[in-house]
Symmetry: D2
Subunit: 452 residues, 4 copies
């Protein structure tokens, strides 16, 4: 039995935040309000949820702050539903223990608090890890978040962190926050669809919340609502194909990656002006407080300085990033991958350093967790509960879901400067190189010619 001796203060009057996706975010506990008001949480306002995606879908300027509120709100609604319809009656009955609500709410709110600016690229280059940092922010006694959580109970920060680390004993709480059909994914699909202005991510959240239910092993969905869950999975698949894997956004991420790499090199030579907040990372010597002072604006402010740097590659890449000058790209496959050295060589011949002006980017590297219960590192299955209480894995009912399971939804692309596609270039000397390059591209794919 979990410790329910929490010190919890209910607000005299529920407080709300207006939200475009959920209409309102409802807050009933002082601790939630206090968490939102912390330095570490407010900082999420200055970090875009989708990084470089706003370069393709200009509405997608929404922040991680609002996504976290959204995950909290969906979790709150699930708890309400469980408390109303599936309240634990006897120990071991597999139903919902209402004393778990507050740990679930806090974990939902804080699950992404460790994200930094342009997470995926930044992490690769500076060896940070947003999941580890999330847990550190929660458990480190110097943070405001930790201080707020400790008002609930001394061991409460550890409990919240363990939900995020998936070691919390109650699988219902863990699966609410992270599973194939969790509050995190539900919020970001709806939110990203809203702000990009596409509708692929739309699914019927109300109906899913009607059919979600606890069982001893975690969370399942009533048979009657199977189609709502199916639709959510299909939406997710479509969002990956249409939004998250969009070639132009990935191209801008490639530029960011190369820009930071170049900056790192120059920094080591002692030639780089850097604003206070970024310096510790280029020096590879940073603290949690340093990390918490980063945001999108800090990076962009550095780029704004670097665009005037004498190094032509650094200044060009900084300009490309700030002024949105993406690389072009083509798809390649197992067969045409062998052409890449030649393509790089051609690019090099017109004067671009291939290390900074080309890239291959495999969208499977992106944190995509397509539904696949048979993976080496198996994901929690989506379970459908029949009338008689038996569980059946979703894809057994759904041909649509089956079709997605067996399919990889990304592609492998080769990125290069747009100049390579110019039809009639002013500088005639490069004309033959451009022509040769272009002969290898058809229907947006790399192709082999007779002599390759």
């Amino acid at each position: 039995m979990h410790n329910t001796a929490y010190n919890l203060v209910k607000l005299p009057k529920e407080k709300v935040f207006r939200d475009p996706v959920h209409n309102y975010i409802h807050v009933q506990y002082q601790v939630i309000l206090d968490l939102i008001d912390t330095h570490e949480f407010q900082r999420l306002r200055r970090i875009k949820q989708l990084g470089t995606t706003s370069y393709t879908f200009h509405g997608a300027e929404h922040s991680r702050f609002e996504h976290c509120l959204g995950v909290y709100e969906i979790t709150r609604k699930i708890c309400d539903k469980f408390d109303r319809n599936f309240k634990k009656q006897t120990p071991g009955d597999g139903l919902w223990d209402e004393s778990e609500r507050i740990v679930a709410l806090c974990a939902a709110l804080l699950h992404d608090v460790g994200h930094g600016p342009y997470s995926h690229t930044f992490e690769r280059l500076f060896n940070t890890n947003h999941e580890a940092i999330t847990q550190q922010i929660i458990t480190d006694e110097t943070t405001e978040i930790n201080r707020v959580l400790r008002t609930v109970a001394p061991d409460f920060p550890l409990k919240v962190a363990s939900v995020i680390g998936k070691t919390y004993p109650n699988p219902q709480v863990v699966q609410m926050i992270s599973s194939q059909a969790d509050a995190d994914r539900m919020d970001y699909l709806l939110r990203d669809a809203y702000f990009t202005g596409t509708q692929y991510g739309s699914f019927d959240l109300t109906r899913i919340l009607r059919v979600i239910r606890p069982y001893a092993g975690g969370i399942a969905f009533d048979r009657g609502g199977m189609h709502a869950v199916e639709d959510y999975i299909v939406s997710r698949f479509q969002m990956y194909q249409q939004i998250y894997f969009h070639p132009v956004s990935r191209s801008m991420e490639v530029i960011l990656d190369h820009l930071l790499k170049r900056a790192q090199d120059i920094y080591h030579d002692g030639q780089l002006e850097v604003v206070d907040q970024l310096a510790p990372f280029l020096a590879h010597n940073w603290t949690l407080a340093d990390y918490l002072s980063l945001d999108d604006g800090v990076l962009n402010t550095n780029f704004g300085i670097w665009r005037h740097h004498p190094d032509p590659i650094l200044s060009d890449l900084a300009t490309r990033f700030l002024d949105r000058r993406p690389f072009k790209s083509v798809e390649f496959n197992d067969e045409t991958v062998t052409l890449l050295p030649k393509m790089r060589e051609l690019i090099s011949q017109v004067g671009f350093d291939p290390e900074y002006y080309t890239a291959i980017n495999d969208s499977f590297d992106l944190p995509y967790d397509s539904y696949d219960p048979h993976a080496e590192n198996p994901k929690t299955q989506i379970e459908i509960m029949q009338d008689d209480g038996t569980l059946v894995e979703l894809s057994e009912f759904s041909p649509l879901v089956r079709s997605i399971m067996g399919e990889q939804s990304g592609d492998a692309r080769f990125f290069f400067p747009k100049t390579m596609l110019v039809k009639q270039h002013q500088t005639q000397i490069f004309e033959p190189i451009y022509q040769e390059f272009q002969q290898h591209i058809k229907n947006n794919q790399l192709i082999k010619l007779a002599n390759d």
Copy 2:
């Protein structure tokens, strides 16, 4: 007759930008695409449309970039409508001259290009003026925008600038971009409503575009669509009351104002670390290029540095701004304004410097142009065209619009630290001061007591 000897290149295939408000932004001319791709225009991605409003409505992270595209798109639709239904037949017939399209589109796209970060506050403190800078960006030969515009015709930049300056000879073009019912207002109402997640700003754009029409003196609306125009005016009024004048956003603007003022003072004493991009403004010696390197992130990055500054007021205000710790506020009126010195004195007694910790903020100072044709500086009226061609000013048909005309929609508020409202403070010595302060507040308004 306007010069139609423009050098215009149509795109081989229309290009679109996905937009949450208009679904798609449609681009048919190379010059429009080239303008969007300029350094000066891309910079608008990093400037929030609504400044501090996102502190109240967290969805409102949308940028000036997308608003400009939206104004362009509405203007494009108006031109399409005019060209289809009201094409000029003979000189002086008051109908639409299709050769005006490109100047209208460019002016629409660029009308806000001179905006800087947190415009209203920044302008007040550093004596900049976004309207003047917009025209400068268009006409200064060093900008990419000017270079692109000159490809159309040598005098084209001046023409575009004159539309924005309202001196362009064709009143239809001028009124599309700036009048009481222009593409600018139409886009921002719809867009701000969408991103804040309220619906007050919604009105029936499709219907307005059905009834809009040119006449010799500018732009009018058919009688049959009067209610759509009325609804637009009511929506605008409601957005001001509910969103633009929200006390918490204004409070954050007060903090920003005081923070920059404090920074300025300290800078003059030579004690302030400032990143490259902001320094010329604190030194009051800046160029257009300096201005174009500013964005929201640059300001916030400075604040992130200043929060660690030894000056307690500077660091406190920087922290308040970044971590969203707004002042509280109450309404006052002509009668209770006399209480303000006393209130400031009480605030001072508990240790706050009133210069930095109080403010009065009259929402009428905000650039609000409520519909009032009888103002000293008269606005273009909204004209309704009857079946027989006669024009009638909107409010003559609409009691709702009349009611708004005669009414000021803002309020005057007094801002102060939240601490002043604490009920039982730990430090008992200040208790009587808090009590006295609080006695003067009732129903969110400043009130006089018997002895005042």
Copy 3:
């Protein structure tokens, strides 16, 4: 204290009805489900909510059945809110007594159950009264609805009927169902806006439900949500102007009225074939069971028979109604009303019987209850509760609402055959009459000429 000894059965599992406006209608009690399943309630599926409005807005085919479910759902949400936040603590504290929920829900569901086909016109001609019949259906022991209600308590039908009759002792329950801001009006505005495809009727129901609250005298709204209530009143005003008073719908109602009047006359002469269900009404000798067998289809089926009747006026009017051939109309006012005899005379001269081919229709005759607390038969005011608990009538805060209060939103129109507006008629002999008729019409209004 109300009798709470109700026999109430909760459903083992909440049941829902998918609804386009509220997403879901939630049913938790067996008695609600049983009421929906009655003969009398299911009949509402065959009666259009907006009568002849679908002739103007073709999407408006929605039925009274779904409106009743919607009113029930809003009432249910209000009860939930009251129970959660304003539960009665002590007798006389003016808060919510949860034992009132079931009577409120039943009254909400059944408030319109006495409506017949094309209510307003039908009632005028056959002297029926839907409000009286609603109460009769509830209290008459022969109905299924009465039988279901009696399972709750023997006197329960009378209680439900007294809510609808506004004599129930608890004003909170009465005002939920009928007041200036009741669940009835809230549902029909949203629903009619949705199905007509306009957005004038949209307002922020979620926000209104957040600020609604009980007090000893009935229902009030928190000051903080004043703008949501204001927006609802403005929406209501706009819906009347744009949808409910639309001249074409009123014209079709005029035709229906004249058609039924003509049928009545012919019936008395014994020359009319009538289907079983309508006969008792033409004979002015009907029972409640007769009334309950009526629906829109019964009337239309009669019209389909009558269109072949030898009486040319009856067959013409039936054809006009079924095939949507509306009369035209113009506005007249106190001054031009004197022209009507002349206009009728002109119409008569070209061969139309003015009794059946003209009408004046004053939209104020329609059941419009614009907000006016100073009326002879005073409506319940909308009360705004300030922070200190005092009540202020809405219009004192809202210039928009004030402007509507002092304004009549309808118009008086004169209806006549479209032929009168033909410009060049084939039968030249009537040409001068048409011309004279048309000279009196300008900008859709009746006008006087020099010699009138």
Copy 4:
């Protein structure tokens, strides 16, 4: 080359119909307005688009009238797009011939004009055929529609009819109106989704209209918009599973079928009162004019009379239909189909005539044309056009579409009176029969027991 010597009158001013799905329906030609105003077309207002579906989704009261307008509007938009971007330059270039617009618009508007009330059931019982009648209404010289069409050209009715009959020579026109991705399907998916209040039918029409294009063999879609087409196909699949095949709607159709069959039997015995409009069909001797006087209300009016008929089965089935008392149902499969005789026998033992109180209903009998290019009667494939102009069939790009192709989306159900599922019946004598019946049902499916 098609005859372009059409007599076409453009309206002086475009006329619009407000529409919830497309916002406005735009009419530019007099002939379209005249067709809408015909007796035959106005009659579609009184025929529900989805028949018995409104018994399950109460919002789905929308009529065939508005669906026809919607198909017209989508076709109009496709023509606009083709005319703007793909205008025929030379004979045989496979591009769009603008002189085809009017025949396409008329065919789109009239494609469903032959539908009667509750089409599928009515047709089965009375041997009518809405497709044949559609062509008859268009070509029969007695109809108003034919008269209007002849104003365009003497052979114009035949041309319009041949589009609907798919024999018109231009495949682009034919495929606009009927193919796997035609204006008909696009409108009904969006419209049915809107009025049922589900979102499964939503797809991105704007994007599909951006990528649709003509080619010599008909209509194709640009590669760049493949995902929009894929999403449309998935939506269609989901609507069939969730809406069109809903067991309760099918149950109400079973009752309608049995009710009409019983009425037919009794009519032949001369014992049935029937209103004028239905009589010719029961007598199997009807004309086109008879057919055109039918609508949903005529059938329901008969049922209202029949509910009082002395035949207990007729009156019971009429009551069930009017008061929504559906049969229950369970799924069966190839294995459990052998249980049906036993189940019918049990039902018979408690007193129900199995001929009228049971049914098997295979949703594949419904007019479902799931995407399958390999069918015996092959459908037009959906073709995707690559950058180099080559065509590829949709499913080759889309695993989602492939998964649907190989899958049947319906089920086979056995319908029976709800009474059979009662747990403890008052009349104890039938208790064992109920128990035996119920033992064969588990998880909504028919199951075999050990001894079966």
